[in-house]
Structures are given as structure tokens and as C-alpha cells.
Symmetry: C2
Subunit: 387 residues, 2 copies
């Protein structure tokens, strides 16, 4: 396999963007990534687009070709990939493999979702497609309900408290307040979270990531060619993915995600690093409990210690490990297909030293962790500077 590097990144602001559609968003992110890589587009020979549910949200499938069309890059081959909320992560992985294989030399990987101002679409039902339709959603489960089950079990098994979960939201809003691309840039307190309306007990509104419009894009090249195109190439030193059952009731444990454990173990082996070597990680905090599960399953803290570690500030900016410096899904927002790509954009900025106002000091190695649904897909990438 060839070594692969990120040579350009770009993203839209994440927000409720009622003035712009799917095509406008992906175009802006792609253009910014090409500009960042100082490429005109003529060098691009492959494209991947991660997006979860454009069929149900805007009645448009075939988003790969649409992306090539709208960016004026025909006849470049362009493929949509989807793994629910991990669509961006699997798009990055697809681009990684396409370059690693030797087939492609310059690949754009985009992620996008247009979720608000979509007349006629049922966003909650569309998102339900990430879970087991026959066994969970159709009988009445919702995603907050599914994650609430995991939270309740974690509270029972490990003594995790609502305050500990709330501390995740407080920390991510503080990080988001330093990120001009974040949907929510307001600082909140524990009380804001604890007194907000219950969605699915114990999860309250401020335990949940929002509905967001946005897009993000990366340009990938083989490392040996990247150095001629970028002063600051970021090498992708590991790419790993794993699957688990769609339905929660088929799993052995509600308090750890096996797909995260398997994918991260493989990623650490591939990168020849341990969790202690990671300076910055963007993890999948679709709910506050999900960040607690993630930092445990990724090995940053021991199982059961995710709550206390969060409450003690060990995951804050420039503490033991800086988690979700972008604000995470919680504060930066969660345009589903864009999230996995945005994570890589943030880690690239951190490794390059470009994360103005929220820079992690001595930032050497970064990790992204993107989850689909309630954990049926997990994708982990590890990156480091190649200059």
C-alpha cells in the first residue's frame, strides 16, 4: 500500500443554513479544499461523497455524480458512500484505499448533509434509517431512546451521573465557542444542561447533538507526491473500520461499542501507537453518553471512568487529552454525512497548528472516530504531520 496524505481541507460553517441547498454546501467545501491544496481541479482523478439520506431529505440519490457535476469535474469518477452517521468516515476510508491502491493520485473526499428547510421531509424518520428499521424504529424506538438505554445501563453499571454527562456538553460548547465554523458558539453551564427539557430520560435537549446543514472536504494524495503540493502534508497513518449488529438487543453489552473497540485496536496496530500517544481526538458525541463510551472504548480512559474523567476536566482543551476541540457533534453541529470529514479537517488544522484560539499544544498525533447509528459502524483514522 502507498502512504496517503491530506493536502487540502475545507468546510462550510455548520448551521441552519436556510439560504443554501445541498449543492451549494458541497461546492463551497470542495472549492475551499482545492484552494487549500493549491490545486485547480485538473489534477483530481477520483472523488467520494459521504452523505446519509439525501434520498429522503431532498429526494436526490446519485450524490457522487452530482458532486462531480456541480464542481465541474466531469468525467472524474465519483462515488457516494453511506454508513449512516459514519458516512463521512467511510468516504475518507474509501478515498484512502483508492489512493493507497495506486489507482488514484489525487482524490477529493466530501461529506455533506442538508437537514433543515427540507419541505416534505421527515428528518427524524430519515435518521431512523441508521438503526434497525424492522426491530427498533418501526416498533417505536427513537435514536435518543436507544442512546438513553445505553446511558441508563452505564449509570447502573459504573455509577455514571447526569452531571458527568452534562459536563461533556459544557466542555464541547466551550470548545465550540472558539470555533467560527461551529453551529453553537455559546458557552453553557451544567445548569443549562441539567434544567433543559428531557428528550428521553436521562438525556435532555442539551445532551443531544443538533440538526445541521453543512459540508466538509479533503484532498488526498500519495505521500511521495504530496510534499510537492503542500508545505504541511498530514499523513493518514491508520484507517480502520468495524461493524456490529444494527439492533441494540443483539449485542453482548450496552455499555461499550464493539465496533469502536475493534476498529481502534486495528488502527493503533496499523499506526504503531497507543492511546497515550494521541494528542487530539475528534470522537462521535451524537449524545453526551456517546462521548463517554467513545473515550472508554478508544482506550483513553478505563471502562467506567469516562464520566468521572469528563467531570474532572481530563478531556478539556490542553488537559490529559483534548477531546472534540471543534465542539464535537454537540456544539459544532452534526450534518450527518459531513461529520466524519469535519473531524479530519479539525485534526488537520490542529496538527498544522492552525486551530486559532483552540490550538492543542505539542500536537503530534490526532485521531478521528466516527460512528454510524447506535454503533453498527465505527471508523477510526489516525494522522500525523509528514513535514
Amino acid at each position: 500500500m502507498r502512504k496517503v496524505a491530506i493536502v487540502g481541507v475545507g468546510m462550510t460553517r455548520f448551521c441552519e443554513d436556510w439560504k443554501r441547498g445541498f449543492r451549494d454546501l458541497v461546492l463551497e467545501a470542495g472549492r475551499k479544499a482545492l484552494e487549500d491544496a493549491k490545486l485547480s481541479g485538473a489534477e483530481i482523478d477520483g472523488m467520494y461523497c459521504g452523505t446519509m439520506a439525501p434520498g429522503r431529505l431532498i429526494a436526490q440519490e446519485h450524490a457522487g455524480a452530482l458532486l462531480a457535476d456541480w464542481m465541474g469535474l466531469n468525467p472524474v469518477p465519483s462515488t457516494r458512500v453511506e454508513a449512516a452517521c459514519a458516512s463521512g468516515g467511510v468516504a475518507l476510508r474509501s478515498g484512502f484505499l483508492a489512493v493507497a491502491s495506486g489507482y488514484h493520485d489525487c482524490v477529493v473526499v466530501g461529506g455533506v448533509e442538508k437537514m433543515t428547510d427540507v419541505p416534505g421531509a421527515d428528518v427524524v424518520s430519515a435518521l431512523g434509517g441508521a438503526g434497525d428499521q424492522e426491530w427498533e424504529l418501526f416498533p417505536g424506538a427513537t435514536f435518543p431512546g436507544i442512546y438513553a438505554l445505553m446511558a441508563r445501563r452505564h449509570m447502573l453499571d459504573y455509577g455514571t451521573t447526569e452531571e458527568q454527562m452534562a459536563s461533556v456538553a459544557v466542555k464541547n460548547h466551550l470548545n465550540g465557542s472558539k470555533n467560527k465554523y461551529a453551529q453553537y458558539q455559546n458557552v453553557i453551564t451544567l445548569d443549562t444542561v441539567l434544567k433543559s427539557k428531557v428528550v428521553a430520560s436521562p438525556l435532555k435537549v442539551f445532551d443531544c447533538s443538533p440538526v445541521t446543514d453543512g459540508a466538509a472536504a479533503l484532498v488526498l494524495m500519495p505521500l511521495d507526491k504530496a510534499k510537492a503540493h503542500s508545505e504541511m502534508p498530514i499523513e493518514i497513518v491508520a484507517s480502520a473500520q468495524a461493524s456490529d449488529t444494527l439492533a441494540l438487543h443483539d449485542r453482548k453489552s450496552l455499555t461499550s461499542m464493539r465496533a469502536t473497540e475493534v476498529a481502534s485496536k486495528k488502527a493503533y496496530e496499523m499506526a504503531k501507537v497507543t492511546p497515550k500517544d494521541i494528542s487530539v481526538a475528534e470522537v462521535h458525541d451524537c449524545f453526551t453518553i456517546a462521548e463517554i463510551l467513545a473515550i472508554e472504548d478508544l482506550g483513553f480512559v478505563k471502562k467506567g471512568q469516562g464520566g468521572p474523567a469528563s467531570e474532572a476536566g481530563k478531556t478539556a482543551l490542553n488537559s490529559d487529552i483534548s477531546i472534540n476541540t471543534s465542539g464535537g457533534l454537540k456544539a459544532c453541529g452534526h450534518p450527518v454525512g459531513a461529520t466524519g470529514i469535519k473531524q479530519a479537517v479539525e485534526v488537520t488544522w490542529q496538527l498544522r497548528g492552525q486551530a486559532n484560539g483552540r490550538q492543542v499544544e505539542d500536537c503530534d498525533i490526532g485521531l478521528t472516530h466516527n460512528v454510524g447509528g447506535s454503533g453498527a459502524t465505527a471508523v477510526v483514522h489516525i494522522m500525523k504531520r509528514a513535514y
Copy 2:
């Protein structure tokens, strides 16, 4: 890049299968492919699933993880890819790149669509997601209408006749009558086609491929390992894909598909063959005019000669070039995401000499051609025996 081979194939019968759902179909195809490859499943380390619109048809996204779940293959990484009607083709290409890269050693590639007996789903509207929603489908165009425009222009520019188009359907039904997996196994006449109801003039019901349930699967391995697992490995000697505009009105020509031309040119170069070297080809005949365009754009006949060549029987079984021996989309059926994989299954059977009753003589090199929408994506693979 490593050389890649097909070591196992399997498919369901294509039909209106009111007794079985999405999961049953993909499970049967996957099981058959594993059995054909004499693999237990423990060797599988990667999966791809091509499916176009399960979100709109069965309210289920995340089909990659669903496939791994239902086949009992967790935690194997599994990704859904989509390019409308070319979803199967891009799934095969994704699996090819994953093995070629050296990352994966044994990959299952599945294609599936459940299109009938889907209460609450609007199949025609869901299929419309393959085209340009904003500029074509929302204003009122339909897919038969879009292909009818191409047919009318081909008739005007090249004198193509309705009888010539009808001869494509007659030939494909004759081929389908010899294929126990085909949806339609009845022989028809030119009159059957010409007197059938008009859908979008000049296209009649019998010019159109049907709505179908079905799944197909392949097992891919690196060629050097394939020989230990299969007595008859089939090497994929070329894999190429290209994009074009989603909307017809943005194209320079209505009578050729640029994506097919670009992808096939690349595929021929990669395989170091010419169109004359191809013994058997499965091409994308979603409408009869589409097969005429395909055999021209793939270089089997000169531009404008697709109609006369079809009428003269030059594309019949064991004639100049055997086109759509499976019955094609027209007679074998078109479960959208499964089609691109079924094409590779048929070509594998032909190259192995296993196409009972419809075997192409001296069958050395085969080609598959899968189109998304009205030509915004085209994927071409070329295969030959590796034994």
C-alpha cells in the same frame, strides 16, 4: 496494485418476490457466493453493498452494516456504496480497489434492491432520485421520458427505427428464456413490443426494463491467493468509472454517453484489449435504446450502427458479439443495486463455461457495463480466465 480475482459468485432468482424482504435476498446471494468459493465466512475481511434507494423503499439506510449483521459476519467492515442504477458496478469497483490496495484479502461484494411489495413507498419517485431532481424530476420528467428524448434524437440523427429498438427486447427475452434466474423467461416477437402500450413515445412497455426484487454477490481475492481457493478464478483485468452531468440538457450529445466512452476507453487501455477482443458483454439496457447507445459507445459497432446491428442479429448469442446473455435488464430484470453485480456473475459463468443453455463458444474475455441514471455514472469492468 495487486491483481484481483473473482473466486465465488451467487444470486437469487430475479422476480417479484413477495415472500421475501431485503435481508432475505442479500443473505441468499451472499451464502451462495461463499459456497461457490468454498469459504466459511471466517476468511472474509471486508464487505461492500451496492443498493440504490433502501431509504425510500424500505426506510432503511446503513445497508453495509446490515449486510454484515445479517450474514453473521460482524465485526467485518462493511460499506454501502450508491450510484443509482450503477450501485452494483461501483460496489464491485470498491471491492476491487480494497483488494488491489493490499488492505483486504477476501472481500464480499453484494448488490440488492427490494422494489415490489414495499408498502408506502413510491418506486417511480424513488428511482427519480437517479436523475437531476431540481432540473428534471421535480419539473415533471420521468426516466422513460428522459430515455425517450435520447431515442428520438437517435432516430433523427441516424435513422434508428422502432423495429430496431424492439429487436433488442426480442433478443434479450430469447436469452432470458434460457436463464433460470431471469424474471421473464418468455420468448416474445417484434409485434409483442411494437403493439405494447406506449410509455413515453417512442418507448413502449416492452422497451422498458421491469421493477424487480433480487440480489447478487461476488467474492474477491488477490489473484495469487485466489488460485488456492478456486479451480476457476476469474481475473478482473480492468475497472474504470466515469461521470457526466446528471441533467440531460447539460450534455453536448443526447446520442452518446460520454461516461461510457471515457470509462470503456480507460478499461480497454488497462486490460490491453480492444472491443474486438470481447466475447461476451453485459450492458446496461434499462431501455432498448440504452443497449443501442451502449454497444456504440463501447465500440462494438460504429456510432449510429447500433440499431441496424441489433436488427441484423449481430448481438445475438454466438453471433459477432454476444450481448446480454443473461437476458439483460430487460428480461433478467433490474433490481437496481443488484444489476451491476449480476452482470459480473453472468460473465463469470460464461468465462467458466457454466452458462448452461446459453453458453458463448470460445468465451475468453468478458465485459460488464453498468450505468447510473441517464448516464451520469458509467462503470466498466473487463474479466478473463486466470486458469
